[in-house]
């Protein structure tokens, strides 16, 4: 579904020095796979996601989606943003319908589709509210509904639950799983939470920082469907084993970087 080969990108700092954000990233994401990308902050995981989305250019390598090279945003992909990125002046309904509007879908059809997705994410009755009147969790439900409304084949999620509280995060994870289990889009989900990466993903891609590289890919054998029972999964032996392994790797990465970055 998604094929990434030799992806490299560097940023030029204000002092003229270059920082490698991504180097030699090779990655394949299967159709209908739920892939989570885990790594310390600054490892380039968001850059990787936005490159796949076609939102940031890169220096080396190729990204193919369904065999076609990515040259910009496309109707086959949609993004859920960390900071929700909702239009503060538009109602929930207009926000959910926004992507459809950009793609030229007529008013009646886009409102009908938006309403059905608002129902899917449990926001029926809030159609005419403004984002400022909603809690963070509800705002991200709007963000998810907006991304799903355009019926993407690939859903790209950039730390979508990073800005909400713990209980809300749990609920959103369960809801996301049940939506995914029903519609089965390909998902690339970036997170800095080990627990989240393991609970949601079919595989966890572990990235290391400076330069951002793929350090490991860990398959998660937890049974599906997982939607109903995220809590119980969290107590299983396999879950404990995988998170322990990931934690070892992350700690080792951190130790590696300490001499260079002692200040952090």
């Amino acid at each position: 579904m998604i094929k990434i080969r030799g992806l490299g990108k560097s940023f030029t700092g204000q002092d003229g020095s270059t920082v490698a954000a991504l180097r030699d990233v090779d990655l394949d994401v299967g159709a209908h796979e739920f892939l989570t990308v885990l790594g310390p902050s600054g490892c380039g995981k968001t850059t990787l996601l936005k490159a796949v989305a076609g939102l940031v250019p890169w220096d080396d390598g190729d990204i193919l989606v369904d065999g076609a090279p990515v040259r910009g945003p496309g109707p086959d992909r949609s993004v859920v943003f960390q900071d929700f990125a909702l239009l503060p002046w538009a109602t929930v309904l207009d926000n959910v319908a926004f992507g459809l509007r950009m793609r030229g879908v007529g008013r009646a059809e886009r409102e009908e589709r938006a309403r059905s997705l608002i129902a899917t994410v449990g926001l029926t009755g809030f159609e005419s509210k403004l984002p400022g009147e909603l809690s963070g969790g509800m705002q991200q439900r709007v963000g998810i509904a907006r991304a799903l409304a355009v019926r993407p084949r690939v859903l790209l999620m950039d730390e979508p639950f990073g800005a909400v509280d713990e209980q809300t995060r749990r609920l959103l994870q369960e809801e996301l799983l049940s939506i995914w289990e029903e519609h089965r889009p390909t998902v690339v989900f970036v997170t800095h939470s080990m627990e989240e990466a393991v609970l949601l993903g079919d595989r966890v891609v572990l990235m290391s920082a400076r330069p951002g590289r793929i350090a490991d890919i860990v398959p998660v054998g937890l049974p599906r469907p997982r939607a109903g029972d995220v809590g119980a999964l969290g107590k299983s032996g396999e879950y404990a084993e995988i998170t322990a392994y990931l934690w070892d790797r992350l700690r080792a990465m951190h130790a590696e970087h300490r001499p260079a970055g002692a200040a952090s």
Partner: protein, 268 residues
């Protein structure tokens, strides 16, 4: 419980509103004016009461309404140009840094130049007519519109632009759906401030160069030593400016209600 606050409620509402205080300072101002005019007396210093009477008289004069029409023609056309040209200019400046590098210095010149100084220049190049007055009103007020629109565009969350791009929005859609609505609160502030400057420009050009409209009326009354009518004209100009600014403020609140849900609701 329900009976006790009831008698106090109307008083509360009066004390919480702005107008009682404004009325109080106005009464004080009128009293001081009246007293001073009676002490000093003189042909060129009418009292408050006399001015008020003259203002009412003026409202019945065809002369005044003709002057209002002439002046407001320049105001409406000039300020219209300022908004229609200033808002897109401000958005371009806010969105494209490169353009701003070239244009910034001219904007600063417009901001700091004493506008009265460019009136002779304008009259020499455009002539003594409607065009000259329209142009001056536009030049006077456009800076406020441009600067505030630019600020408004800068304040638009860049992630909204990224979001729109992710759904395939082109530059035109980003302008119409993200930049313009996002900058609207600041644009409306610019419009409100711009109206004040437009009225100033309208009167100044008439006073200094093109003796016509309300400014022309002021000059005529001064020449005839009709001080109460002169003061009355000024009162009417002030009333118009206040009215226009109130309308702009009302429109601002009406159009940008979301900006207040934003600050109180926040991301949580």
């Amino acid at each position: 419980m329900s009976a006790a606050p009831a008698p106090r409620a109307p008083l509360r509402r009066i004390l919480d509103a702005n107008w009682p205080y404004q009325l109080l300072t106005f009464a004080l101002f009128a009293a001081v004016w009246e007293l001073y005019a009676r002490q000093r007396g003189g042909l060129l210093l009418p009292g408050f009461a006399e001015t008020a009477r003259a203002t009412v008289d003026l409202l019945g004069e065809a002369e005044l309404w003709r002057a209002l029409y002439v002046s407001n023609q320049a105001l409406a056309l000039g300020f219209g140009i300022a908004v229609v040209a200033g808002v897109p200019a401000g958005i371009v400046l806010g969105r494209f840094r490169l353009v701003e590098r070239y244009a910034d210095v001219y904007l600063n010149i417009l901001l700091v130049t004493p506008m009265a100084a460019i009136i002779p220049l304008l009259v020499m190049s455009v002539g003594v007519g409607l065009a000259s007055r329209v142009l001056l009103v536009a030049v006077f007020s456009i800076v406020m519109v441009v600067v505030n629109s630019r600020t408004g565009v800068r304040q638009v969350d860049p992630s909204l632009i990224e979001m729109a791009r992710s759904f395939g929005a082109g530059e035109r859609q980003i302008w119409a759906r993200i930049l313009l609505p996002g900058a609207l609160p600041a644009i409306m502030t610019g419009v409100r401030l711009g109206i004040g400057r437009a009225v100033t420009g309208m009167v100044i050009v008439e006073l200094l160069m093109v003796s016509d409209g309300l400014g022309g009326l002021i000059l005529t009354y001064r020449g005839l030593l009709k001080a109460p009518l002169l003061y009355g004209t000024i009162v009417i100009i002030l009333a118009e400016a206040l009215l226009l600014i109130s309308v702009a403020r009302w429109a601002e609140r009406k159009l940008t209600r979301w900006a207040r849900t934003q600050t109180t609701g926040g991301a949580q």
